[in-house]
Subunit: 418 residues, 2 copies
């Protein structure tokens, strides 16, 4: 029999998973330093949760299936809709703001390629309650600080959905067309965009990308469009908070985001050399989504990191991740020593990583194994030593050996390994 | 719109998830202290992987679905088959023994009840390579030490599949009937068992449960049955290792385990007062499963904890879990102070959990919020203080306030919070 893992999924062997856990833990620490608290939603949801507002592109690629009671379920393709559902169902009585984050697998049935998997991981946050420039700024800063903490080089682009949507409202463009325009901008499909709308102001606006000079240009373009201008002024307030913190960013009024629910500030983070899957973060303000689920008019803002892409970026940029190695491999010199040895090492496991040979191997084989797994020390337990209540500690780095009283073992190892 | 989470699944709010993460991390530390390394397999697999050898009971309750290419997939109902599949596909060239552990959600479509969910978590280990009493002992000890570390009171029962299977072979009972007998024993369905086999030796054997006296009784019962006796002697060697470590256990020759793949030592751990879902751990030796997937004759042993049941046991036995609270809530006294405040707290986030008000609230509201979230301190930033490069720190426990130079803030907080 030869069963493989399903296409587009991955197995993570120890070294790879350890690196992922290290990065996850570093990111979690930054999220928690901002006082965001982790929550968890189910791996599958009722399919309609995502069919409502996650956008056509995601819906097309969802894993939808029926359970044995013919419920239409779906492996979650993203987390924001789930968090809003959870908020409506269980968290609505908690005082606001709610500062939440999540980490977990998401699922999309797409053609697998480098940096794109059918089961992929996201870590992200949602800030529920505030509608203020500083809440948008905190969201962007949290993403920015997280990646800075990892040591990554990246570019941050910021836009605002209210500008393009406001402009289209000011131009009296139907909301249905608006959604199609947004989808075209997101895909970069300019020719279809030209078929949908021929107003040059829209085409000029979405080309605006750069730093301070963009602000003047946008001010000029939007001068006569009141709703768009209001949105742009909102964005300027967010930027002021970021400037105060020395955040480096690029303004991009052509950011449209694939998800239909964004209403205000939006941002994307890229690692340019990652190729086709270079976007490692996307987020923004979504002020109507919670109302849709709960009836409560509660604004929110958030972002998600593509965790697998961050791992690719870490590799690409040569960022070192500390390795965990066994401190000690226990090596009884003969059969009679084996149970004694287990008794000696057992209390050490409160503090150290201690491997015990379960293959009943001879000393030379255990030493070879200790070398293979890059253990730091080997503890040799023999009958002569044991009579004197001592053991032999072998440094696997330089091969030097020392005798140590069993009662001193823990202190000595603390000095050597910690 | 009113979409709920799917039946049998759960949302985990911050406090509950924090407790779960704490327990998960404590258990992981014990696994890692034994030098087990974490791996991860996909959330779904090809359905046939589990249809082969996981046993009828699990197969009945699997979430099977087709993807858009008509692949028959399945949310994993347990992890051991996945780990063996991963071993065959990717780890077979690595030196043995492989000491692996995993943590993640599993899925079974069953009637939800207390302690039984459709999405539930397991943490478990697999020791691939050895076929020795000490490897069985290490497996049992790792489970035992993990629960001891958590402070839980529990009972451990040990049996051996080779005894009942060996007895049936010695009695020349067909293997098909053997599997049915095992299933009956596992379900405790004695009347169906009596219909299947009428040999009194089987019925006497599976009733044997207790400590040392059981050994003599089993020796007597099995005296004429060579295969069964050999298996029993194997088990006695495992027990010798456990006795050496002072492990408390109960022998139970009626343990049958629901999974068909077990071949040798098996064990279960119960928390008696948990009611119908009192079993929190099950495991044992499965020497043929890897061969089934890879063609390589490699023995293995492992166990899984029902993580949700452990969490229930923690609650039931009143075991305290430390809480994480915000160290600091930043409180600018007026609008002009807001951006200054963010600049002051930003570097503190390398070490402390610092909440920043993003609702543009007045000082009294921020103090109220800090009280609600049980923050340890509030940092009040006002214009007079700022002129002197200082801030005011308010202890939320006793309400006392002190002035601190901004340059001394980090040191002072380290003293107070760490």
């Amino acid at each position: 029999m030869n069963i493989k893992k399903p296409r587009g999924t991955r197995d993570f062997p120890p070294s790879e998973l350890a690196a992922r856990e290290y990065i996850k833990s570093t990111l979690s620490q930054v999220f928690e330093a901002y006082n965001y608290q982790r929550i968890q939603t189910p791996t599958f949801e009722h399919a309609e949760l995502f069919q409502l507002k996650s956008g056509e592109e995601i819906e097309e690629h969802m894993y939808v299936f029926e359970d044995k009671s013919s419920r239409k379920l779906c492996l979650r393709p993203e987390a924001t809709a789930s968090v809003c559902r959870m908020f409506s169902e269980e968290l609505r009585s908690i005082r606001l703001p709610l500062k939440l984050y999540y980490y977990g697998p998401m699922f999309r049935y797409e053609r697998p390629q480098k940096g794109r998997y059918r089961e992929f991981w996201q870590i992200g946050m949602e800030l529920i309650g505030p509608q203020s420039p500083e809440s948008d700024a905190e969201t962007i800063l949290l993403a920015y600080d997280s990646l800075t903490k990892l040591g990554l080089t990246f570019t941050l682009e910021i836009g605002h959905m209210g500008i393009i949507r406001g402009l289209m409202s000011d131009l009296k463009i139907d909301e249905n067309i608006q959604n199609k325009v947004i989808a075209c901008i997101d895909k970069g499909d300019i020719s279809q965009l030209e078929q949908l709308v021929d107003n040059p102001v829209i085409h000029d606006l979405i080309k605006l990308k750069g730093s301070v000079n963009v602000i003047t240009q946008a001010d000029n373009i939007l001068n006569e469009y009141k709703t768009a201008k209001t949105a742009f002024n909102e964005l300027k307030e967010v930027l002021e908070w970021l400037d105060n913190m020395g955040t480096e960013y690029c303004l991009n009024l052509g950011i449209a985001r694939g998800l239909e629910y964004y209403t205000g500030t939006v941002f994307e983070i890229q690692i340019p050399k990652l190729g086709a899957q270079s976007q490692i973060c996307g987020g923004g303000r979504y002020d109507n989504l919670i109302e849709l689920f709960s009836g409560l008019k509660i604004p929110a803002v958030g972002f998600a990191f593509g965790f697998d892409r961050i791992m690719n970026a870490i590799k690409l940029q040569g960022i070192k991740i500390p390795e965990k190695r066994a401190d000690l491999v226990a090596a009884p010199v003969n059969n009679a020593m084996r149970q004694h040895t287990l008794k000696i090492i057992s209390p050490l496991r409160d503090t150290f990583i201690v491997d015990f040979d379960v293959m009943n191997r001879k000393l030379d084989k255990i030493l070879k194994y200790a070398g293979d797994i890059q253990a730091k020390y080997v503890l040799i337990v023999g009958p002569e030593d044991l009579k004197d209540n001592q053991v032999t500690l072998r440094n696997m780095g330089d091969g030097k050996q020392e005798k140590i009283k069993i009662t001193d073992l823990e202190n000595r190892l603390t000095k050597l390994c910690r």
